[in-house]
Symmetry: C2
Subunit: 221 residues, 2 copies
């Protein structure tokens, strides 16, 4: 296989916290020990036709390898996990359960986390933002409570660290700006375990080293 | 492989429209020609420990086969598509792109659709519900416009019908109660093509035949 090419931003809506979705792909590549190149986009280039051809939604990441062009961080992480050892268990049932946690991270937990991000950042200036917050927090706490209960005292969600943990940790990291994970000590410790992995550290350092561009002054995040 | 066992509700929050997530799994099983059994839950049973053991988030669907127990409709559809011919292209790159559209449906498009469902149904009685609607619709229309542009005049998102189309059609079907798809004739026609598939029809008929229980009177949907 050729060396993959990742498309990412050279600017950061989160001041280098590593919450942008290319972080998921960088972390996965580091876990499997696959070196890669990065194409950095300036602010605005993500909405240009050249990038829309790679990702019709005008977002990062995009991923290229041996003529394959992929968008959607979840699909890219799954492709990496299917192509190289390290992110899926070797047995078929274990692999299916790791994929289950990938979808749980992105389709069950992340929507409630994202609602809070929208409420706190995009909608923050609106008259009704405060009034709405309790219903947002109710949905989020329901999911976090369920996740916390399932994780219990385990190190990872289902046996060894997998692509499912990688995505779940990245989703939960969006809550670090708030104090919400303090209510779920086992989830906070789970996130800290993810962040302590050497592959995570290398991915975040590389992401930050690429932030040589300017974020727009009016970017709401 | 043994005959799969699907867990679904015997009640319907959507009056049998087939928007509950077990519909995704039923449709996938019909597409690949796999017969299955159904365990029906009464209202409330989804939050009981017996079902939480299958799905920690207390939702449907759950799926059992040869000792494997899976939750998350996206992961179950992917498992079915990986196990039987009919929902993924045979080449590795085509399969990766079908998975890309599965994640696009559930992680890029569905969150904006779900925001509208929450705004129109769960938040409908709140003072601020109307004031918030424009920002919800803005995010939704941005995604639908991008999806419509990428689909263009094609029949399906990437070559033959795939698991990616199955999930995308099911996500877009949540918009049928509103008039929003009228702004995107190619997306409306795409949804209609999905619904016209014999496998879709069989799945919906079976789902409706199982609705023998009572929905709670105060269920907000």
């Amino acid at each position: 296989m050729s060396r993959p090419l990742l498309t990412a931003y050279n600017w950061s809506p989160d001041k280098g916290a590593g919450l942008v979705r290319d972080m998921r792909v960088r972390w996965a590549l580091e876990e499997v020990g696959q070196a890669y190149d990065v194409r950095h986009l300036n602010w605005g280039e993500q909405k240009e036709p050249a990038h829309r051809a790679r990702n019709p939604f005008g977002q990062v990441p995009a991923y290229e390898e041996d003529g394959l062009v992929l968008f959607e961080s979840g699909a890219i992480v799954l492709h990496i996990a299917d192509s190289r050892p390290g992110l899926f268990p070797e047995d078929k049932a274990g692999r299916a359960r790791a994929i289950e946690w990938m979808f749980a991270a992105l389709n069950t937990v992340e929507p409630t986390v994202w609602e809070l991000v929208i409420a706190k950042i995009i909608d923050a200036g609106e008259d009704w933002a405060e009034a709405r917050l309790p219903s947002v927090l109710k949905r989020l706490h329901e999911r976090l409570g369920e996740l916390s209960k399932r994780l219990g005292d385990s190190e990872w969600l289902d046996g060894a660290f997998s692509a499912g943990d990688l995505l779940m940790v990245q989703v939960l990291r969006n809550l670090k700006a708030s104090n919400i994970l303090a209510d779920y000590p086992n989830l906070a410790a789970y996130v800290a375990r993810g962040e302590a992995r050497p592959a995570f550290g290398r991915a975040l350092a590389d992401l930050r080293a690429g932030l040589t561009g300017q974020s727009p002054a009016d970017w709401p995040y």
